[in-house]
Symmetry: C2
Subunit: 203 residues, 2 copies
Amino acid sequence: MKIHEFTMAPNPRRVRIFLAEKGITVPYEQVDLMTAKNRAPEFLAKNPMGGVPVLELDDGSFIAESVAICRYFETLHPEPRLMGGPDAKDAATVEMWQRRMEFQILGTVAGCFRNTSPFFKGRITQVAEWGEVCRRDALKRLEWLDSELANRQFVAGDRFTIADITALVGIDFGRMVDIKIAPGLKNLERWYDAVSSRPSAKA
Amino acid sequence: MKIHEFTMAPNPRRVRIFLAEKGITVPYEQVDLMTAKNRAPEFLAKNPMGGVPVLELDDGSFIAESVAICRYFETLHPEPRLMGGPDAKDAATVEMWQRRMEFQILGTVAGCFRNTSPFFKGRITQVAEWGEVCRRDALKRLEWLDSELANRQFVAGDRFTIADITALVGIDFGRMVDIKIAPGLKNLERWYDAVSSRPSAKA
């Protein structure tokens, strides 16, 4: 078993933090996105979408998509529960917050990065105006997240979950395009200090 | 328990099909998106993102996000399994395909619709050029999905799953912006005929 990833990219970090929180060690193999190794036929055979990370299982099959890789390890090693459950309401609540963090925070930051960063110039069709819509949305969503965090410790409730991982990775990725927690968002800052100082954040 | 939804919108249909496949009946209450009832304070108290569907539980709590709502019912009523499992590899594989269908098919179609349709004019900042990037991506992804379906019956393998639901809803939503299965995509057409003729597709 190994995970094909690229340390500098945001999605692989989601899985690394997740595994660190679980205390699971998996060998990593780097796929150099800077030289577009993820667009080479050998890698596309592993994941036709070209994204990292990809989990390679011992039977030769591949699991792509960060959250699906997390699900694999959560199912095998449920404790500590990072994806909620075992009851239905808790599982659904954590999944709701994971998705909100993915679409509203990480997704908007990624939309800004992909459409405005020189890294993607010539690799994809960039629409700078859309990148700015994403930036504005990301900043608005950070304000909203601050208000949500007024009454609880973590994104999905009173314990650390995958939703915190997605939000942390999204916010840190935001630095690449100057999307930052605005001054005065005290709840978000308190949360950010707590999650970014966990040992897993360095994974 | 009830589900706040809007019959004409794509995301509520995902949940309706999912529940129909499970044989579960839940009362629905309509939220008129045409008159922006989903942006009114009463609805934003249920889901600050303003999206439908939202599951209201008997304890007064709310679960938003279609896939999280599906997770709620899958956890309570695992059979027939639409989200994979119980083993880790199967759960992860179905989640991978669900996400691919969500980002590559439904997401690209929605990106085109939101940025080009008169429905959203004045409601959100539309970037028509981005809408056309989404359209082109959606059409490319349908070609790719056709190739994936050459060797198996359904999107995630040999049985119907939530990944088929997301793909079906995405493709049907595509009609709104003239994104259609191109002539000659025989595998995709075979799959589409099979899934759209299931009784659940009418839910």
